[in-house]
């Protein structure tokens, strides 16, 4: 766990260190990844020879119907599941192949769909969890840099509250702060805004874009929501329904920083149409496959 990291924990004071050059860490290479689940003897091909390279500092969004293997892919990158064959590299370092598996670590932090702030810790205690358990920095130092980060992220007032005392939007922001606290090479977001209402969601989009623009972290973002995908992503990867393959990659050439005005631009609408066509076909296939399974 985290043993593959040789550098010390870069505390997020470095987030705004003025390093606005091309990001150098966080390139993710997914090569010919195949995953076969075999529960109860029946083999299910979840991922079928998926290949994708996400450049350092890229915001890559994966869309596709339910059960297309998006989360399977994320779990493999995070180190929760193994894969059947293929290889995944983070900055030329092998994360997993059919034979090898690297434990989860603070270089690739997952923000979970249902939220995973520890309810028994305050916001501040949650945020410092990573550096504290990694034990690379003194507690007092971690605490003050966490306070700093929470302040920068507009969360200073709630640092001594428990997660159940704050709104769901706040909780997502804290979770992103908790991830950023570890200065990960890549952020893995698994439908993080799914459970939020539309207004909170749009605030969160703006928030995540700000974090992205200022930190230039590589982001691997899974969603069902096409509008979200195009609004946020530099590239939108459409996956096919089971078996999961990469169907189409849409380059989103809308300049950054983006704000809500993007949503009414011609280019956005054009890209959205393109994406809808690709996804709709898959959604229909998935739906029909589901009906066949039931029949």
């Amino acid at each position: 766990m985290g043993r593959n990291r040789t550098d010390t924990v870069q505390l997020p004071a470095t987030l705004n260190s003025g390093n606005r050059g091309k990001p150098s860490v966080g390139q993710l290479r997914i090569e010919e990844v195949t995953k076969i689940y075999s529960p109860k003897g029946a083999n299910v091909l979840a991922l079928d020879h998926c290949s994708l390279t996400i450049e350092a500092g890229e915001f890559c969004v994966i869309v596709g119907p339910s059960g297309c293997g998006k989360t399977t892919l994320l779990n493999a990158i995070a180190g929760f599941h193994d894969i059947t064959s293929g290889e995944i590299y983070l900055d030329d370092q092998l994360l997993c192949s059919g034979k090898k598996n690297t434990d989860p670590g603070a270089d690739r932090i997952v923000v979970f769909q249902q939220g995973a702030l520890f309810p028994w810790y305050t916001v501040l205690e949650n945020v410092i969890y990573g550096p504290i358990v990694q034990g690379k920095t003194a507690a007092a130092e971690v605490k003050s840099s966490a306070e700093n980060l929470l302040g920068q992220m507009g969360l200073a007032g709630i640092s001594h509250n428990y997660p159940n005392e704050i709104s769901s939007g706040m909780r997502r922001r804290v979770e992103i702060a908790r991830a950023m606290m570890n200065d990960p090479k890549i952020l893995l977001l698994d439908e993080p805004f799914r459970a939020l209402d539309a207004l909170t969601k749009s605030v969160m989009h703006k928030y995540l874009l700000d974090v992205y623009d200022s930190s230039q972290k590589t982001i691997f973002f899974i969603t069902h929501d096409l509008e979200e995908a195009i609004f946020l992503g530099s590239r939108v990867v459409v996956m096919t329904t089971r078996p999961g393959r990469i169907k189409k990659v849409i380059e989103v050439d809308i300049p950054r920083p983006r704000d809500y005005r993007v949503l009414s631009s011609d280019r956005y609408l054009e890209l959205k149409r393109e994406a809808i066509e690709a996804v709709h076909e898959e959604a229909r296939k998935a739906f029909e496959a589901g009906e066949r399974e039931l029949a």
């Binding site: 766990m1 520890f118 309810p119 709630i158 509250n161 428990y162 928030y207």
Partner: protein, 294 residues
């Protein structure tokens, strides 16, 4: 590109919910007093005592004629010169209480010290659970009274047998609830901890233990209840002191009001011990307390 400190700082209002536990307690007390609950509670209690009084001392109904009434028992309880030798002014009364409390503390303490770690470990290591859970599940439903002969055979002194019986009941309740507590923790917390670089010992101390705490404390409450239950049973069978002994001995010696005094005393002490566990639980689980308050 804007630096991160240019993020909108007031995008969402920050709720101001910094509540001290003392403030919370007085807030709850005031709420409670303002509701109808405490008054209905008092009314219910008075009606119960009145009905008891009516049945035993006024109407002397059949089946109730030998049951001591509340007035008789209270008179004896608060008497400086009790007829049967037990009242709040008699040191012997406190010796009985002390003996019972010490026995429960020993048994409950031992059950907690062994049961909580065992339950945590069973929940954490699936293989260990596979070994040990069936044994636990077979032994647990055996009523404590069925253990009495074996307990007497196993332990050379009666005192140890009583504590052993009390311990057994508490131990099963604590272990099982702790195990359930660990199993109730959502997998996502384990994943999140591993992502953040936690090693197994961090996961144990910073996820498994706090995550299981609510169930552990439910278990401790149950365990305290069954401790008193088996203690009294044990003391009735084999004791020289203690409230259970006092009850049984008074029955044999035809000193009926003492039975009621000892029973009411048990009720109070049982309630107080539960309240103490809740208090400690609330201290350790501030997140739960505040959650319930908001």
């Amino acid at each position: 590109m804007p630096p991160i400190n240019a993020l909108p700082k007031k995008a969402l209002p920050t709720p101001n919910v910094q509540i001290s536990s003392l403030g919370l307690m007085s807030y709850r007390l005031n709420r409670w007093l303002a509701s109808s609950r405490p008054y209905l509670m008092l009314l219910g209690l008075s009606l119960f005592i009145f009905a008891w009084y009516l049945c035993t001392e006024v109407l002397k109904l059949p089946r109730f004629e030998k049951v001591p009434g509340p007035a008789v028992a209270a008179k004896e309880w608060f008497s400086r010169d009790p007829v049967y030798g037990i009242s709040i002014f008699v040191p012997e009364y406190y010796q009985h209480i002390l003996k019972s409390v010490l026995r429960v503390l020993e048994a409950f303490g031992l059950a907690t010290l062994l049961g909580v770690p065992l339950g945590l470990f069973m929940g954490w290591k699936k293989t260990f659970k596979d070994y040990s859970f069936p044994i636990l599940e077979t032994l647990r439903p055996i009523p404590m009274l069925a253990w009495v002969p074996l307990a007497i055979l196993m332990w050379p002194i009666r005192e140890a047998a009583i504590i052993y019986l009390t311990f057994l009941a508490a131990f099963f309740a604590t272990t099982l609830n702790t195990l359930l507590g660990v199993e109730s923790i959502d997998e996502v917390y384990f994943r999140a901890a591993r992502c953040l670089g936690a090693k197994p010992r961090h996961i144990f101390f910073r996820v498994v233990i706090p995550g299981a705490l609510p169930f552990i404390f439910t278990g401790l409450q149950i365990s305290m209840g069954v401790s008193w239950f088996s203690l009294v049973a044990g003391e009735m069978l084999a004791g020289e002191y203690g409230l259970g002994y006092l009850i049984w001995n008074s029955f044999i010696m035809v000193q009926y009001p003492i039975i009621v005094i000892a029973m009411v005393t048990l009720g109070f002490i049982g309630w107080a011990s539960s309240a103490m566990i809740r208090f400690v639980g609330n201290l350790l689980m501030k997140w739960k307390v505040r959650e319930a308050a908001l």
